[in-house]
């Protein structure tokens, strides 16, 4: 290609007429820039992956020990004189009996200390959890025939014992700055060697309710509360969301009103979740007067929050069904409503389902709105209905994270692990469903 310009200063107009040295240098620079650019991309991806891994590693490392709990196995004598002094099998007597003394007695016997040695008994009492009286009472209530007999019972050890065996309390620290004393350590080692003290799988983490002691605290109430809330979200957000999506996709005329609705929905999907909490507080609790801490209220707030997500997912699923299906249905004489409910909706179901599961997963992890409506209550017993006070998994994590006792740090991370497992399971199910039912039209 001949140069049009005779002036060599202004450059050449073809790559073949460039000075080869300059051309080669320039090419090398461009290739280097290309390589660098790709490297940035890979670095960015690795950065993201690294932090996923780090997050899981940190939480896993701090939390997996919550799945184990130290327990004492002792033969306990269920003294009739303590439990049922009047011999009348009076329910109130049985409820009010001093079971802690029975547990202590069993422990003193095993350790070989005299009940009169005040200093020793005080130390020994520090080995048993304060919740042991409830455990013993349950044994008696379940089977009153144990009164007067000696049975081998498994009791929760004190939180400090658990912390020691898990390494959270450092033996090397001088005795005065430790919560566990040397004598107690000696006993603990003896009991462990003898098999009376051992770490077992902590079912209590999943069955117990709130407690001020870490060893008796569990997620049971939180799980049930979250379950009620998810059911409420499912019952409210899904029908409403699908109905709205059907209307907006199939029936709505393109006018200002429907434009407004669409802008609203897109905006609501991006509104900070705490604002929904304020809405729930102002209207559901103050105006309508629903009970604070009820999972129904939490469910309603979360349903309002999940609604835009469901609408958007349902709309996408309905739009993906090709018009030929609708036209075929209309062609055989179905009404528009029939073509939608009998043909389009079933085909859009997988997409709607996937969107719902993802929306539920988001709702499960929400904390801020629930804090606003007061689900931070200290609830010990399972809620029997959605109107009873309850709490939710992420809120329980938040509450435990504020607690000071050492044992709660482990529980916080352990609860987080449980939450993450639930969420990963839900997301995996959503992905599998999406892959299985995905149709390429």
């Amino acid at each position: 290609m001949t140069d049009v310009t005779a002036d060599g200063v202004s450059g050449t107009s073809s790559i073949t007429t460039l000075d080869p040295a300059i051309a080669a240098r320039r090419l090398a620079r461009r290739r280097a820039a290309e390589w660098r650019f790709q490297a940035y991309g890979i670095a960015a991806i690795l950065f993201g992956l690294f932090f996923v891994a780090l997050l899981f590693a940190v939480i896993g490392a701090k939390g997996w020990t919550a799945l184990l709990q130290t327990q004492l196995t002792l033969p306990v004598t269920f003294e009739k004189s303590v439990i049922d002094p009047n011999g009348t099998s009076n329910h109130d007597d049985i409820m009010a009996a001093d079971y802690t003394s029975l547990a202590s007695a069993a422990l003193y016997k095993r350790l070989g200390i005299s009940p009169d040695d005040a200093a020793a008994t005080a130390l020994a009492d520090g080995l048993i959890s304060t919740g042991s009286d409830v455990e013993l009472r349950k044994v008696v209530l379940d089977d009153p025939s144990v009164i007067g007999t000696t049975r081998t019972v498994t009791l929760l050890a004190h939180g400090n014992v658990d912390a020691l065996l898990k390494g959270t309390i450092d033996r090397a620290v001088p005795e005065d700055s430790r919560q566990i004393k040397d004598q107690q350590i000696a006993w603990i080692d003896r009991l462990t060697a003898g098999g009376s003290l051992a770490k077992t799988f902590n079912w209590g983490l999943f069955t117990r309710g709130a407690s001020s002691q870490p060893e008796t605290a569990g997620l049971g109430v939180a799980v049930i509360g979250s379950l009620y809330m998810m059911l409420t979200v499912l019952a409210i957000a899904v029908p409403l969301g699908v109905a709205a999506a059907i209307y907006l996709e199939e029936f709505a005329p393109r006018n200002r009103w429907t434009d407004l609705i669409e802008v609203n929905i897109s905006n609501l999907a991006a509104v900070p979740s705490i604002v929904f909490g304020l809405l729930g507080l102002a209207i559901l609790i103050n105006l309508v007067g629903l009970p604070r801490s009820a999972s129904l209220v939490g469910g309603l707030v979360l349903a309002l929050m999940t609604l835009p997500t469901v609408i958007i997912a349902a709309r996408a699923a309905i739009t993906a069904v090709p018009p030929s299906i609708r036209q075929a249905a209309l062609g055989v004489g179905a009404s528009k409503m029939q073509s939608i409910f009998h043909h389009v909706l079933p085909l859009a179901m997988p997409g709607i389902l996937t969107g719902t599961i993802i929306g539920l997963a988001k709702a499960l992890g929400e904390t801020a709105p629930l804090l606003m409506i007061g689900m931070v209550a200290f609830v010990v017993d399972y809620p029997r209905s959605p109107l009873d006070p309850a709490t939710a998994l992420p809120v329980q994590i938040y509450m435990w994270s504020n607690a000071q006792e050492r044992g709660f740090v482990e529980r916080t991370s352990g609860a987080t692990l449980v939450l993450l497992v639930f969420l990963i399971a839900m997301n995996v199910i959503a992905v599998i469903l999406r892959r299985r039912f995905e149709r390429k039209w």
């Binding site: 290609m1 001949t2 049009v4 310009t5 200063v9 202004s10 450059g11 050449t12 107009s13 073809s14 790559i15 073949t16 007429t17 460039l18 300059i22 051309a23 320039r26 090419l27 461009r30 290739r31």
Partner: protein, 276 residues
Amino acid sequence: MVAFSDTAVVNGTGAKSLNGHTELPTGKVVAVDCNVYYGDKQALKNVTVGISERSVTAFIGPSGCGKSTFLRCINRMNDTIVGCRVEGKITLDGEDIYEPKLDVVQLRARVGMVFQKANPFPKSIFDNVAYGPRIHGLAASKSGLEEIVITSLKKAGLWDEVKDRLKEAGTGLSGGQQQRLCIARAIAVGPEVILMDEPCSALDPIATARIEELIDELRKNYTIVIVTHSMQQAARVSQRTAFFHLGNLVEQGDTQQIFMSPRDKRTQDYITGRIG
């Protein structure tokens, strides 16, 4: 430049090895036994052809016959398609374009392309044309760059229409003007070969006529290969024509000869409208 001998008609079904050819084609761009696969599907079978310098060669044939695929092999645009495999040898001025030492970036500066639908960048008209020279470092100074842009626009016959609106967006032009802008953009890099993939298929007859005039001007200085589904356009514009059918290069030769007295029955069927 000696053109390919008109007596060689490649048999579409036989697999000729490199050594089996009686005469190798010659030209600015030469392909020998080119096979292209998309995954398992074979799109081009043993295409052997020579493109003469400073003339217009037209590729014709029914849809899906592989002419665009072959065009895209010449500037290695098929590299961007995942799963596309090219076998055989294609040379530019005797150099194998698939040789590892050859940087594809420089190949594409020597072999330019104009696409079916005009695709100006969302930049100003000036920046559209200046993009190529900037990247390849063709201009030593700002004034040099301006000269390249002005020259290219003049050569593409667009200068008079846009000279006072160089800063406006390229996408604001009409369809025909956009395509001429794309031609100017391709010329600005100073290619030796210009590949055109159905450049007029989205344009009205008047704009088409202008572009055909332009092609006639450009062939004085560039080697042009044009893919077209319009036989009339091929007859008007090209000096040599190659007919593709179902992935085979059925016949090639002087345009007059192909249209007046085709040697292969398939070519005749296509020209008379019985197939395609």
